[in-house]
């Protein structure tokens, strides 16, 4: 993250401006991205990497501009599925964590099912999804949910259990019910953990939505990926991947921002 330093003292004023710029939160990732894209472009050109393998950023840019309508409309579909799946995973994930902390026995009983829901590949049971739920947006949201809720559960559980014995004593000394202990102590203590879980969840919800679109859908970026792949539109494929990544970053930083808004006392 260095910038050229002018050899003479005269350059102080503009350098200060650059310094301030370099300190801005978006600067480092931007420099990184620009650098990566440049390296990529040069490598593809110099090593003569074939187009069907890895198109150059310039090709991807052209394809992206040409197919902007296609990319945009499909991105919106994926975004909607992702958000639905994410919202579900947040709610259900926290609820499951609460249940598992409140009734450890139920927690132990549920755990195998939760782990199974993670390790069983969705594509393997896709026919079941398709037959029971049908194809399309619902299936994608559902798979997004299944992929995303686990980190929420695991992190929220850790958070709900992160309270000190002293604070529990305090709550009980006030005659707090189990529910009040949750509301006034465990949940606020768990918030930073839940946010971390949600940061993972939003990333995985995107993956889930895409996988759902692979399995059966006629829209969305995942659908676009499959189709452009089959129809050898490699540049459009990569343009879709870029849009996907941009969406991922936006959502990820969005959740992070949300976290900062919620956790104000730090």
């Amino acid at each position: 993250m260095s910038h050229s330093t002018a050899p003479t003292g005269r350059a102080t004023a503009p350098r200060t401006g650059l310094r301030r710029l370099a300190g801005a939160p978006g600067f480092a990732p931007l420099v990184m991205l620009v650098g990566l894209v440049a390296v990529w472009q040069v490598c593809v050109r110099v090593l003569d990497v074939p187009f069907y393998l890895l198109p150059a950023p310039s090709d991807i840019w052209t394809a992206g501009v040409d197919n902007w309508g296609l990319l945009w409309s499909n991105a919106l579909v994926t975004l909607a599925e992702t958000l639905v799946g994410f919202a579900l995973s947040a709610v259900v994930g926290v609820l499951l964590a609460v249940v598992m902390v409140a009734w450890p026995l139920a927690g132990r009983a549920l755990y195998p099912v939760l782990v199974a829901s993670q390790v069983i590949p969705k594509v393997a049971i896709a026919p079941l999804f398709v037959v029971w739920i049908g194809t399309g947006v619902t299936t994608s949201s559902l798979i997004a949910f299944v992929m995303a809720f686990f980190p929420v559960v695991v992190n929220a559980t850790q958070g709900l259990n992160s309270v000190s014995e002293g604070s529990l004593h305090l709550m009980r000394s006030m005659g707090a019910s189990q529910w009040q202990v949750f509301r006034y102590l465990r949940l606020p203590s768990a918030l930073p953990f839940i946010i971390t879980g949600l940061q993972l969840a939003i990333a995985f919800a995107i993956v889930g939505a895409i996988v759902g679109e692979f399995v059966g859908s006629d829209s969305g970026l995942g659908y676009l990926l499959i189709v452009t792949q089959g129809n050898l539109m490699t540049d459009t494929l990569f343009a879709a991947l870029v849009v996907l990544t941009a969406m991922g970053l936006l959502l990820y930083y969005g959740v992070e921002l949300l976290g900062r808004l919620v956790i104000r006392w730090k």
């Binding site: 074939p50 069907y52 296609l70 896709a126 059966g216 006629d218 499959i226 129809n231």
Partner: protein
């Protein structure tokens, strides 16, 4: 659903397709819609994209669609395990699967594959056909190296020299390789003693048991679409590409379509158009059972019917 009619009094037919986006070989269906061939027969069709032939057959078998455009060998395997569908027409008479090699490859005939690396995708029909092909040509399986590759990685692997040949739809691989500036040719398994069924239509028992008329009407309209497509390949691809919302380019469609159309005509010209041949079905089942690990006790005769062909007996 089957048997229901719309406002115009047309019968509604839901057609499951074998892929989640339009492929060149879907052109006749879209043309038949576009040119009003279905309307002429008093039916209205809706096309449903599915994740693959297996899912297309499943859609028909579970009543989510009435007719399916699918790979019949995949359908046969599903029928074996009890899925209630039957084939009502074989459209593509020559199987498209084979070994595709680069133009300058030394491979000319089956025997030349000894000692080579073959890229194949597990779980698909090509992985079933590879051992069938080897066996038909008396090549021990140990004489070749099978490299399992994802469907979307095969062409790159061939071009990059990671494998010497790839197993899969010949016309598809050829046009893809042409697109990358190389030339390729295909040794079709169907020319080398390992033949199975390829694309055709299946229907569920809702139609076959009570509404055979609709099937016949559907096939008649489809055939008009097919004929029109053959005559007007450019236009067909233009229509299909437009229908595909930009997910299929016209040029890719045309290069695929001409390759595919060559595989359509029936070998036995005496039989009516669309006939399912007893021997082709028996051979397919035989290969699926021997090389594909497919099990089941459905009788071959229960897997197809020629009762609803438009030029019926």
């Amino acid at each position: 659903a089957a048997g229901t009619t719309d406002a115009d009094g047309n019968r509604e037919v839901r057609v499951a397709l074998d892929w989640n986006s339009y492929v060149a070989y879907h052109a006749p269906l879209v043309i038949a819609q576009e040119k009003g061939f279905f309307d002429e027969e008093g039916i209205t069709t809706t096309l449903q994209l599915t994740a693959g032939s297996k899912d297309g057959v499943l859609a028909v078998g579970t009543g989510k669609a009435d007719i399916g455009w699918v790979d019949l060998s995949t359908a046969a395997a599903s029928m074996m395990s009890g899925l209630p569908v039957v084939s009502v027409a074989t459209v593509q008479h020559k199987n498209a699967t084979g070994l595709t090699v680069l133009e300058d490859s030394a491979i000319q005939e089956p025997d030349d594959v000894r000692g080579l690396r073959i890229g194949s995708t597990p779980g698909g029909s090509d992985s079933t056909l590879v051992p069938a092909f080897l066996s038909a040509n008396d090549i021990p399986e140990d004489d070749v190296t099978i490299v399992n590759l994802p469907a979307n990685g095969k062409i790159a692997a061939l071009l990059a020299g990671k494998v010497d040949a790839i197993s899969g739809q010949g016309y598809y691989a050829q046009s893809a390789i042409a697109d990358a500036g190389e030339e390729a040719r295909t040794l079709l398994y169907s020319d080398a003693g390992a033949d199975v069924l390829d694309h055709g239509f299946v229907a569920g028992n809702a139609l076959t048991d009570g509404d055979g008329e609709t099937i016949t009407a559907f096939l008649r309209a489809y055939r008009k679409g097919l004929d029109y497509t053959e005559e007007n390949q450019e236009e067909a691809c233009e229509v299909l590409a437009a229908e595909s919302d930009g997910t299929l380019t016209e040029s890719f469609c045309t290069s695929q379509l001409s390759g595919w159309l060559e595989l359509v005509p029936a070998a036995d010209t005496d039989a009516p158009w669309g006939s399912n041949s007893e021997s082709a079905w028996a051979d397919t089942i035989d290969i699926l059972q021997t090389y594909g690990g497919v099990e089941g006790d459905t009788a071959v005769a229960d897997m197809y019917t020629n009762d609803f062909l438009p030029d019926g007996q």
